[in-house]
Structures are given as C-alpha cells and as structure tokens.
Symmetry: C2
Subunit: 347 residues, 2 copies
DNA sequence: TTGAAAGCGCTAACAA
DNA sequence: TTGTTAGCGCTTTCAA
C-alpha cells in the first residue's frame, strides 16, 4: 500500500525550471534564457533545453515570473457578459491583442457596484495593464489605480491624468435620437434610463448625459420630459415598461438609454400589438441583435469593436512607457431600423 | 528638478508585507496571520496591523501567495461570450461562488480551437480550480490537466477519471425536438449543426449526438436526413440558411443544433416572410432571448444556470479533497414557442 | 501570542 | 556563451 498524501494523490509535483536544467545538464539561468528567447543562446543549448522541456511537460509558472517582472497579461474588467455592447468591446480587445504576446483575463463584476472589486482583483494579480469597461467607480479612485498600473477606461467621460479614456460622444448620440424622433412628428417621447442607485459617478456616466440632452431638447420644444428609471434586475425594466404602455395616455415614442432596455420595450410593445407608428422605439449601443429582422431595433452605433481595439492599442502604448493621458472620443451613428422607421410596421 | 526614473514615475513602490510590519512594529509573520485571519492573534495586534494596512493601502500580491500555496481563484474557460447559453452557465457559476472566498477569472477562447490555450493560461496562473465550458480539447489531454488541478467540465460527454462532468442529456433533448416536429406533421425536416472542423472530440461533443438522434429518427420513419454544416463565422450560417430556404423544394421544419443557428434561421425565414407552418424552427439551449415575443423561439432548455452552479459546487468539493470523479447529467426540457407552435404565425 | 528563518520558482546582474 | 548568485513578497514551520 502506498502512502498517498493528498499532495501526491494530485499527481507528481509539477516540474520546475530546475528540473529542466538538471535534465538538460545546464544552469537554470540558461533555461530561463531559452524560454524567454533571450539573447545569447547557442543552438545546441536551445535544442537540449527544448527537448528537456518537452520531455517534462514543463510550463513556467506565471506567479514566479510575476515576482521578478511582468506577467504578459492584460486584464479586462467587464460589467456584464450578457450584454451585446460589452461583448462587442471585448471582441475588439481580443482582436487587437491577437497577435501580441499578451494573454487576456476577464474579471466580471458580480453586481452593479462590483467595479472596484473586479479592478482590484486584476491589480492584485499583477496584470501588465487593465482595461476598465464602464466601471462605476469614483474617478479619484481610478486615478490611484492608474498611477500604479497602465490603465485605459472605456465608456466614462472623465478627464484623468493617469489613465486613458475611450468614450462615445453621448451628447451627439442622444441628439441624433431626439432629432430623429422629432422629425417623425413625435411629441410625447419618454426616456428610460438607469436608476440613480447604480450611478456611482453621475458626473462621468454616459446615461445621465443622454438624459440631460433628452430633457433639454424636450424643454426646448415646450414638451414635458417623461423619465422612467429602472434598477438592475431585468424584471424591474419589464414592470416599468408595462406600466408605461398601460397608461391612459401613453407616449408615442421611447428613447431607451441602452439596447437592453429597448428590447424590454419591444417586448412590451409586441405584447400589446402596437405598431411602430403608435409606439416608436430607439435604443443605444447597436448590439449585434438589433439588426435581426424580427427585432429591427433603431439604435445608436457606438462602434464597440473599434472602441475595444483602440483601448487595447492605447494600453500597450502605456505599458511601453507613454505617460501622457490620451482621450479618444468616438462619433456615434444613428441606425434607423423598423422600430422607428417612417414607413414600417412594428410587426 | 527631480530625477524621475520610469520606475517611480509610475508612483511609489507598492507597499509590501514588510512595510506594514515595520509601520506596525511587528513581524512580517504577524501581519501574514492577520490578513489571513489565522489562529492566534491578539486583538491589540490585529488592530495595529489593520491600521497600518489601511494607512499604507497595502494589498497582498496574489503572485507571492501563489508561491507558497493557494490563489483563492477559480478560473473559467469560456468558448464565446456573445452566446446566451454560455452566459447562463457563467451566471450560475458566479451565483454559486458569490458567498465563497473565491475570486473568479475568465479565460476566453480566442478562436474555435483555443480551448487548450485558455485552459493552459488558467493552469499557468495557478488557479485553485478550473471550470472548462465545452472545451474542444482531447479528452486524454484534459485528464492530464485534471490530474494536476481540480477540474470540472461542462458540456461534453466524457467519462473521465480525474475530473467531474456536468452535461445535458442530448439524446433526450434531440428526441424531444424530433418528436415535437413529427407530431406537428413535419416530414421534410433539416438539421443545421456545427462543421466537423470545430469538433476536436467528436466522440464527446453534444452536437454529433444530436445529429445522430436526428438521423436515426428520420430513418426510422423512412425519411431522408438533410444535414447542413456550418463553420464558425456567423456569415457562413447566414449563407447556408439562405441557400436552404431558396431551394426549389425546401424543408418545412428545421432542427437547429443550437440557438445561435436558430436565430440565423429565424432571420432567413423572416426575410422571406415565411409562416411557422411553412417553416418551423426549433433550437437548442434556451438562451434568454428565445422567449422574447418577437423571436419566440422553440428550443430545448438545458438549465444553464443550474449547470454552472452545480459545476462550481463540484469544483469546490474537489478542491477540498474529493478524488472520485462525478458526473451529473441534466434532463433537458422542450420549450414550445411560436417558432414551431401549432397555432401561431411566424410573425 | 509572537518572531526568526527558510524557501516557493523564477529572472537579472554579474562573473567566468 | 554559460553559470553563479541574490532576491522578488509571501507563508510556514519552528522556537521563544
């Protein structure tokens, strides 16, 4: 009977750089140079070491490397994974990193205010750089992070000293939506947006910006703003939109703060068999599904992939040493589809 | 003028456990005990150390901890983030881990065959355990991983010795779909499924299983199977489904291997204004969007959240020492909606 | 209850 | 071109 301690029940101890060195009959430093493709290694040495690595199935531990320098890892903090806008961004990041030497890890937010925890988690893992996607965190706190590690933020309107910003022009985007709805003749236009509770930084968040444009453009025309606020759980959005459509006098159009809300609105409208003339809907983000002909959601394209790719490139520049903060503002484009089309039926 | 080297331009050196110890006037070991809530620390000591930690903004480095033991991290390998089924799984995992001490990191697959790279990336980071979601990797290779680190796989039908498996009963699921379509009177039923190129392990992959059930049930009734294969890029699916619907004699029903394909089919059908009597569609997975009234996709519910939560719980058991391999098979349920409803119109 | 000391796996200076 | 050596930040015996 073997005396299997828990330790070796879990298989043999993974081999280390020392094991490789011993097997190849060289020093550990030599092995290190080979695996890092460092300068000054003879072909013979490289071959022997490579053979030993293969034989042992050796893999360098990122943790040990982190102790001496870089992890070759970029961390992305993401608010939600089931939101098409954030996956567009992520796809952009992945594309830009594809032929770099960086690995990508994602830290998901576990709740609406988990941005700090997610970013700290990446920081604690000593990633070489962080991309923070729409983190609901105080700007000042983020400056602190940016002072310690290369950082790019996507989707908040701040003006930082120690990190870069990639953001859409939300004022313009909201204006495009409202002008579009006005041009269709709508006057009773409602706006659904995020509840204030999930706005840690109202000053920099895109949603209050869109709201402000909505309100001022309504007032400019002597119309009364009609704002519905929705807290995170999807059920809340459904309820709020059901209530909106069941009013005695309901709005004829809706500007939804983002496409997930717009999908809820489409559901509520569909269940009441409303036509798009009776109730037009425009969203924001242009999630991939928006163009599905059964949804055909009018929305504002924020070019998520390009935002992600740009952020990744900026981050790499920062990792390479750039110190000056950059800000890239993307110009949004309105995508008019059936949900607000001039001559379409909702369904 | 200060002599700012690149190093301190990046802010001061992050404080270490030694800095905390010095400030609190205790040993490093004492600090370590406090931050790990270890046994045998006086209240006075705890207070002094905590104060020092706060003052310095000290954060333990995961890498240094990893050198001596665990990272308190669970890694999830995910094939795609823009797929509702995988996000259901992930939400289940996150829910189950929510009040544990584990952090979660996600390694995304960068391409259809990136499963090995994603899992290796997690392994190299010394996560305490890995959840592999539908990884297209050889079973034998995965056994090797399972021997070295606690591992649970979701969504492949293998029978491993060194990791656990959570999977749906795909034979049953496919049978439910086919019986449903037969009961509606359909005979010309096509099946879209993944291209063989992305099947690294055809023996364990769910899609060939669904395909086999489809084929055998068709043949049992003397019908000719009609299989369309689609490679990863979405455009390929669109093209294939357009071609299918533009045939002189087109099928009257489609069993789509997963919901993303079903959405493509819905698009093609909508563009041709087909009713669901002319072309019924049933998918697989029950992505959250399937129940949207404008899509109303009939599909098979795999209980993604429960799968994820179960996998997370199994993994924690394994981390705690369980050695024997477990396999949990989930019973799928058919969700009949308008896309194949008996008395509904497609739109 | 607290501290001293060793060592985890790797890289970077430096020496040979 | 190769090897020796020191040390990154932490946890863990073990001793006091």
């Amino acid at each position: 009977m073997t005396e299997a301690t828990p330790a070796d029940a879990r298989g043999p101890r993974p081999s280390t750089i020392g094991d490789v060195a011993a097997l190849a009959g060289v020093s550990r430093a030599a092995v290190s140079k080979v695996i890092r493709n460092a300068y000054g290694v003879s072909d013979a040495m490289r071959e022997r070491v490579t053979a030993a690595i293969d034989e042992l199935g050796y893999r360098p531990r990122v943790a040990a490397r982190a102790m001496r320098g870089s992890t070759s890892t970029i961390g992305v903090q993401l608010p939600q994974l089931d939101n098409g806008f954030f996956t567009r961004i992520l796809n952009g990041v992945m594309g830009a990193l594809h032929d770099s030497d960086y690995h990508l890890i994602i830290a998901p937010m576990t709740d609406a205010v988990g941005g700090v925890a997610a970013i700290e988690s990446l920081y604690d893992r000593q990633v070489d750089g962080i991309i923070a996607v729409a983190p609901a965190v105080p700007q000042e706190w983020l400056e602190g992070v940016g002072r310690r590690v290369p950082l790019v933020q996507i989707g908040q309107h701040d003006d930082p000293d120690h990190y870069d910003v990639v953001v859409g022009d939300d004022d313009l985007g909201a204006r495009l939506v409202m002008e579009h709805l006005f041009s269709l003749g709508h006057e009773r236009i409602a706006h659904v947006t995020n509840d204030e509770r999930i706005l840690v930084e109202a000053a920099t968040d895109p949603h209050p910006r869109r709201l402000r444009v909505y309100e001022s453009m309504m007032r400019e025309r002597g119309l009364v703003p009609d704002v519905i606020r929705v807290a995170p759980p999807d059920a809340d959005a459904s309820r709020a939109l059901d209530a909106l459509l069941d009013r005695d006098v309901r709005p004829t159009a809706l500007f939804a703060g983002h496409d997930a809300l717009a999908l809820s609105a489409l559901r509520a409208a569909a269940e009441r068999a409303l036509t798009n003339a009776e109730f037009a809907i425009v969203g924001y983000d242009d999630i991939p599904l928006a163009e599905h002909p059964l949804l055909s959601l009018s929305t504002v394209d924020q070019s998520g992939e390009e935002m992600g790719a740009t952020a990744a490139r900026m981050l790499i520049e920062r990792i390479r040493g750039r110190e000056v903060a950059l800000k890239q503002v993307f110009t949004p484009r309105l995508r008019v589809r059936a949900s607000s089309g001039a001559d379409h039926q909702h369904r």
